[in-house]
């Protein structure tokens, strides 16, 4: 990591994280409880408590380009055990939103999966698991990863080949459309 120039942190970033998450990052006193319990920590480049510290110092680019904000599983261990009742998982969520908006790649497969999932919802109103997996596999070029699973699932007759399309799917698509339209104006986050 580059040396950090204190006093040159991005205070707008700190404020944006606080506004969008509704949390006060200065309440973090760096006890490390979030890091201690984080099940995904082994996949991170920065531990959760360090992400919190980086936000406190306004290190926008380091945070938004980190793998950690993308690999968080939203399991709420950090929020549950934070002695200061900071909703840490929500802060990571918000950083992920910002990372996406700012065009940082993040963990590519995680992003692709999310995109594929939401596309499925947009098309059908419900997520279609088999179709979703197909789209994701094509996008991620990881065609053979879960090959061992498919026979089991098909054998158990769990995955319908055809998606169930709800009547209100246009309405759902409308939500996505208005979201895409309003994103520039509203920033999409919590006010």
């Amino acid at each position: 990591m580059e040396h950090v120039q204190l006093g040159r942190g991005d205070t707008d970033f700190i404020r944006a994280v606080e506004t969008e998450s509704g949390q006060k990052v200065s309440r973090c006193y760096q006890c490390g409880n979030c890091t201690a319990g984080c099940p995904m920590s082994f996949t991170y480049d920065f531990t959760v408590s360090r992400i919190m510290r980086l936000i406190q110092l306004g290190q926008k680019n380091t945070v938004l380009s980190s793998k950690a904000v993308w690999m968080c599983a939203s399991c709420e261990s950090c929020s549950t055990r934070c002695p200061n009742h900071i909703e840490v998982a929500r802060i990571l969520d918000v950083c992920r939103h910002m990372s996406r908006r700012a065009g940082f790649g993040g963990a590519r497969n995680v992003r692709l999966f999310a995109d594929a999932f939401l596309q499925s919802v947009r098309w059908h109103g419900q997520s279609h698991e088999l179709g979703l997996m197909a789209v994701y596999k094509l996008l991620s070029m990881r065609l053979f990863d879960d090959l061992t699973l498919a026979p089991d699932m098909l054998l158990k007759n769990k995955l319908p080949f055809k998606p169930h399309r709800i009547k209100g799917r246009d309405e759902v698509a409308g939500i996505f459309r208005r979201y895409a339209q309003g994103r520039g104006l509203h920033g999409g986050g919590k006010k």
Partner: protein, 307 residues
């Protein structure tokens, strides 16, 4: 038992990978006298991907389902799926903020008219039927079965928001299964994450996290794991073969939905609890159920309470 009706939201996996959870939940509720009314033409809550993208979008997808449930004239929204619950619950909580609510209304173009409450089917059974009430209805007790209840990370956490059971050591499933005669192990990883939605994009993550859960349950001598979450079940059961090779251990641990086991204990037929949908063969575990009743249990089935 209250004669109340609850708006029921099965969630997308209920028509796919967790078909058995949905069906056994419906059968169990019917047997316990709980009336569920399906949310008409429901849509996906957006699951983890939606709140990874944007909170208002995520809330809007949930809000549409709440709006649909208003057609039933019901405020209480129940779902078996903790992930759907979390999204709906968060949507309701965050929409207390007028600015946030306005943005959600802009997306859905359907402002909500009622004050909604979202909770899990597990909470409904635990608090409305209660373990004591359930015990009276047990026909085939699960004596002899040693189980580890695994709640997953979302169902009770954080406690200040979910307001159900204990956030670190939940006991609701344990108490219900105990009432059904099963022996419950003091499983310490009840709320540890299984890897959640990372199953598809990062199988290695799930192998590691779910592996730890399976490994500990095995080493404690559990005959099976019991879960209340479709995603957990998929990771622990469907991916068990992958996990076995990843952590180089040879365990075969069936992973039941609690609704299936309670259904079994209530004497529900196989076509309502669909044990054959489980990937890891549950027969060796089920064989441990002692057919001979212990002397302290009456030979006659408990008196039926009219549903």
């Amino acid at each position: 038992m209250s004669a109340k009706t609850y708006a029921y939201y099965s969630g997308c996996s209920g028509s796919g990978t967790s078909k058995e959870y949905d069906l056994s939940t419906r059968a169990l509720c019917a047997a316990l006298g709980i009336t569920l009314a399906d949310v008409p033409d429901w849509s996906c809550c957006g699951s983890t991907p939606a709140h990874m993208v944007d909170h208002a979008l995520s809330a809007a997808l949930s809000a549409r389902n709440l709006a649909q449930s208003e057609q039933l004239g019901l405020d209480d929204f129940v779902t078996p799926c903790p992930s759907c619950l979390k999204n709906t619950h968060n949507a309701i909580e965050q929409m207390r903020d007028p600015g946030f609510r306005k943005e959600v209304d802009r997306l859905t173009m359907r402002p909500l008219a009622r004050k909604h409450r979202a909770f899990s089917v597990l909470q409904l059974i635990y608090e409305e039927v209660t373990p004591e009430g359930l015990a009276l209805k047990i026909k085939k007790p699960l004596h002899g079965l040693k189980l580890a209840a695994y709640y997953g990370c979302l169902l009770t956490r954080p406690g200040r928001s979910m307001r159900f059971d204990d956030e670190e050591n939940p006991v609701s499933m344990d108490r219900l299964l105990e009432a059904a005669g099963a022996g419950m192990l003091p499983f310490p990883l009840k709320v540890e994450c299984c890897g959640g939605s990372f199953g598809i994009p990062r199988g290695d993550v799930v192998a590691r996290l779910s592996g730890r859960i399976l490994e500990l349950a095995c080493s404690m001598g559990a005959d099976a794991l019991v879960v209340a979450c479709p995603l957990c079940q998929m990771n622990l059961d469907l991916r068990q073969k992958q996990i076995r090779s990843a952590v180089r251990l040879n365990f075969h641990l069936p992973v039941f939905y609690y609704t299936q086991l309670l259904g079994l204990a209530l004497g529900l037929p196989e076509d309502q609890i669909l044990l054959d949908k489980l990937v890891t063969d549950p027969k060796p575990a089920l064989a441990k159920i002692e057919i001979i009743r212990p002397p302290d249990v009456p030979a006659q089935p408990a008196k039926e309470v009219p549903a």
